[in-house]
């Protein structure tokens, strides 16, 4: 058959529509509308033959404006679909007949004879459907050359069939020249330069093979957006060409087939070329659509994960407790809206007593909680997202989110560091990247406690490494299926966030401790200043009171001496003197407590001091039914200290003991001195009584100034003792004896470490 001369207007417009790269329904609608216009018909449609069904079903029928028109199936045996058409149809074998079927519901040419053109659609050797074009017989344009009809029907058939065909096996790729050209076209679209194109696909060889196999005497021009390449190199300048756009309509690449030398196109060659072109275009269309869908899906997933990570970061970085961070991290890993793992575990790095990784907590997605979580979410307003924290807390209820077996297993996990082997775990911490451990046996000798936590299908291990160094690791898995490597970039970001949150919590706790210490210090300072101010004020008042007291008391004594003995006046005088004495004691105590504790050094014999004070109180004690016992260590060394102040301590302690014993009807008072049992170079002085002891509820108050349980006390005796002993770098402790009574134990260093000066801040009770 002689190849008719171009132009082929119908084919040009139809091919442009079919190879546009648009989605198939849009492509077909556009194609049919163009067919109506080109052939001057009012209706156009495509009927498809299903392999398991004898009827031809309408795929799409439109009017000349492109609007869908209802149509009926075409049954075998109808004039449009003769019985032999299915088996003996040939490309280009068109039927032109007067027929109103299958548009029986809508007359395309009311009142006029209808003319219908039926074009079989053949892919390979198989009839796959019909293209029908209908209109008033008088208006119909002749169908054009049979050759052009073949081109159009072939291209349409290949486009319709492309989705069904499977990709040929890789080994057969280049056996089929058409497939070779398809591969070439794909590579052509990707190539950035002609050299790259040639090197990548070996185009000349392929084309040579293609031409040889098909016995075509043609040349090929491969057009790219930037340039054309021609085979054979010497391309004729004015040869008529058939252009096939490649990679859909958008790439700008095309293959042009043209006459070579004096040869002529033969119909089957052209049909083969068109089939190849349509196959390429259809495959590219499908592939492009798939790529777009995949890209959209990828983008959606990417945006979702980034949003989730952003929410996790916000929640984690506002958490202030380590447990909270661990819970949130595990919750985020098993959260179905996030990573969606089935299990997650946390191991923490501890430095004491030896560096080791210990199991902290495990979380497992719980279906019941998951359902509740989903319900919670669906109950919320559509534009209102459930806060992540709520979502996670819904998943992890009261620390019981993992089954006992896993929780116990994690609790038991202890991995001592450093790892004995240079295995993946060491590398893991060094690389600071999450890693999928899918086959523990293949990764060398992992510590057995760690291997026990890994899932057989594979686990992701996330090292938590912050600025100060390794902090621990998270282990997470799907339990029954392998983790997706695509999650690793997100997990890297996630591990960084968790590390940062843990680091931040540590810093927060350190700062809180420092702040608490500062607050304590401040309150002690304020207390001390208050007490100092109070003491100074009391001292000032006491001093002003003291001089008048001395005069009043002195003259009262003189007055009393002048009064008749046993007279009422003398009795009154005695009362005045007694009360003056009491007032003087109070004033002396206040002045003694508030004075600056300047301390002098002198060798003090504590035994002598104890004996002297005991002697001083002997008469008073005897009068109150108290027996004073001395148990003094003869080998007691002399103590460096202030004898006046130490004497004052003894006086206060013994006076208290006698008074307490008197209150319970007498008893024993024992003063003991002894060397320390250890080598601390200290001596101890103990004053014990057999009275009622000190009630436990006031024990912590007895060294506080002005605290007293006595009717006539100032509450300064024991604080003065405490202050003096502290200034001697000693200790004073109080306890109740098991047998009853109080026990005061004073410990004093034999030598003072440094020159004693004023040391108010050392006093906790001020």
């Amino acid at each position: 058959m002689i190849f008719p001369q171009p132009p082929y207007r119908w084919f040009d417009t139809a091919a442009g529509a079919l190879l546009s790269g648009d989605p198939l329904p849009k492509t077909l609608r556009h194609f049919l509308r163009l067919c109506c216009r080109q052939q001057n018909r009012t209706l156009a449609g495509i009927w498809i033959r299903h392999r398991k069904h004898p009827d031809l079903e309408p795929l799409l029928t439109v009017d000349s404006a492109g609007n869908p028109v209802p149509a009926a199936p075409i049954k075998p045996g109808s004039p449009l679909f003769p019985a032999d058409l299915a088996t003996a149809a040939q490309p280009g074998q068109c039927l032109e007949l007067d027929c109103r079927q299958p548009w029986h519901n809508r007359d395309p040419a009311p009142g006029r004879p209808l003319h219908c053109l039926s074009i079989p659609l053949i892919a390979g050797d198989e009839l796959i459907g019909l293209l029908l074009l209908a209109g008033a017989a008088a208006d119909c344009r002749p169908a054009g050359s049979n050759f052009e009809t073949v081109l159009v029907s072939r291209l349409l058939a290949m486009l319709l069939r492309a989705g069904d065909e499977n990709e040929p096996a890789a080994g057969e790729r280049y056996a089929d020249p058409w497939i070779a050209l398809a591969a070439m076209s794909a590579a052509a679209a990707r190539a950035a330069s002609l050299e790259e194109l040639a090197a990548a696909i070996g185009m000349p060889l392929l084309l040579a093979g293609f031409i040889r196999r098909c016995s075509l005497e043609v040349g090929v021009i491969l057009g790219t957006p930037n340039a054309n390449v021609t085979w054979p190199p010497a391309a004729p300048e004015s040869q008529p060409c058939i252009n096939l756009p490649l990679e859909g309509a958008g790439s700008g690449c095309s293959i042009s087939f043209f006459y070579h030398a004096e040869s002529r196109w033969r119909e089957h060659h052209l049909a083969a070329i068109l089939e190849m072109g349509s196959r390429i275009a259809a495959q590219n269309l499908v592939r492009l659509q798939r790529q777009i869908l995949d890209a959209r899906q990828d983008n959606r997933q990417h945006i979702h994960m980034l949003t989730f990570l952003h929410q996790v970061k916000n929640v984690l970085l506002t958490e202030t407790s380590p447990d909270g961070v661990v819970n949130l991290a595990l919750g985020a890993l098993v959260c179905p809206h996030g990573f969606g793992f089935d299990r997650a575990m946390m191991l923490k790095l501890e430095a004491d007593p030896v560096p080791r990784l210990i199991g902290v907590r495990a979380a497992v997605i719980n279906q019941e909680h998951h359902q509740r979580c989903l319900l919670t979410e669906s109950a919320a307003a559509p534009d209102q997202q459930v806060p992540l924290q709520q979502l996670i807390s819904c998943l992890l209820t009261t620390g019981n989110s993992a089954p006992n077996s896993l929780r116990e297993q994690v609790d038991r996990t202890v991995i001592n560091l450093p790892f004995p082997h240079q295995g993946p775990l060491t590398e893991l911490f060094a690389r600071r990247q999450p890693q999928i451990i899918s086959a523990p046996a293949d990764y060398g000798p992992l510590p057995p406690p760690l291997t026990a936590l890994l899932a057989p299908a594979g686990s992701v291990v996330l090292p938590l490494t912050g600025e100060p160094g390794p902090q621990g690791m998270l282990i997470t898995d799907f339990h029954r299926r392998a983790p997706d490597p695509a999650l690793l970039p997100y997990l890297t970001l996630f591990a960084d966030t968790v590390s940062l949150a843990l680091e931040q919590v540590q810093l927060y706790r350190q700062e809180s401790t420092t702040l608490a210490n500062l607050r304590t210090l401040r309150s002690r300072l304020v207390h001390y200043e208050t007490m100092t101010a109070l003491g100074e004020m009391a001292a000032s008042i006491a001093h002003e009171i003291k001089n008048p007291l001395v005069s009043i008391g002195g003259f009262a004594r003189r007055l009393q001496a002048m009064l008749p003995e046993k007279s009422r006046e003398q009795q009154y005088g005695a009362i005045i003197i007694k009360e003056i004495n009491r007032l003087e004691r109070i004033v002396n105590d206040i002045l003694g407590f508030s004075r600056s504790p300047s301390t002098t050094h002198a060798p003090c014999r504590m035994n002598d001091l104890a004996a002297e004070v005991a002697e001083l109180f002997a008469r008073d004690a005897w009068g109150r039914g108290v027996e004073v016992l001395l148990d003094l260590d003869p080998d007691l060394p002399t103590v460096e200290g202030d004898p006046y102040q130490l004497r004052q301590v003894l006086i206060n302690l013994i006076a208290n003991a006698i008074q307490a014993s008197w209150g319970t009807g007498g008893g024993q008072l024992t003063i003991t001195t002894a060397c320390a049992d250890d080598d601390s170079d200290t001596v101890t002085l103990t004053v014990e009584d057999t009275a009622a002891g000190i009630p436990p509820e006031i024990m912590h108050n007895i060294f506080n100034p002005f605290f007293t349980t006595k009717d006539e006390g100032t509450g300064l005796g024991l604080p003065i003792c405490h202050k003096i002993i502290m200034n001697h770098q000693g200790t004073i402790q109080v306890s109740n004896r098991p047998a009853g009574g109080a026990r005061f134990e004073v410990t004093l260093p034999v030598r003072q470490a440094q020159q004693l000066t004023i040391r108010p801040a050392a006093d906790n009770h001020l």
Binding site: P548, G554, L591, S598
Partner: protein
């Protein structure tokens, strides 16, 4: 007959001075009082006391300064610092005083100290 010991009482409080004068006079001492350190320094060459009781906190010259001046005049005159402040008790020796007594309505302690110090001296001329 032995002359009584002469004691100079220095205190800015009149009632204290009167109390000391009477109590010490009852003990058989010849007592003169001064209301300030300056007055006391003026009285010493005339009265020639065997012992001085000196208050510390007084308007004008303090008792401690007066103590130093008295010791410059006559080191042999014992001076007892006699004050309401107990806090200086440990430091009296550094002030070159001979004794230190915290004021009290009972003058027993003061009398004991006076007696002890005077016993260490030769009999009054």
């Amino acid at each position: 007959m032995t002359q009584p010991y002469r004691i100079l009482v220095v205190d800015d409080e009149e009632s204290i001075r009167l109390l000391y004068e009477e109590e010490l006079a009852d003990e058989g001492y010849e007592v003169q009082s001064a209301a300030s350190a300056e007055e006391a320094l003026a009285a010493i060459p005339v009265f020639k006391p065997h012992l001085v009781t000196m208050d510390i906190k007084m308007p004008g010259m303090s008792g401690v300064d007066a103590l130093i001046r008295i010791k410059e005049i006559d080191r042999s005159i014992p001076v007892i610092l006699c004050t309401a402040y107990g806090e200086y008790k440990q430091d009296f020796s550094t002030w070159a005083s001979d004794d230190y007594v915290v004021k009290s309505s009972s003058l027993d302690e003061l009398k004991q100290h006076i007696q002890r110090l005077l016993n260490e001296k030769p009999a009054a001329e």
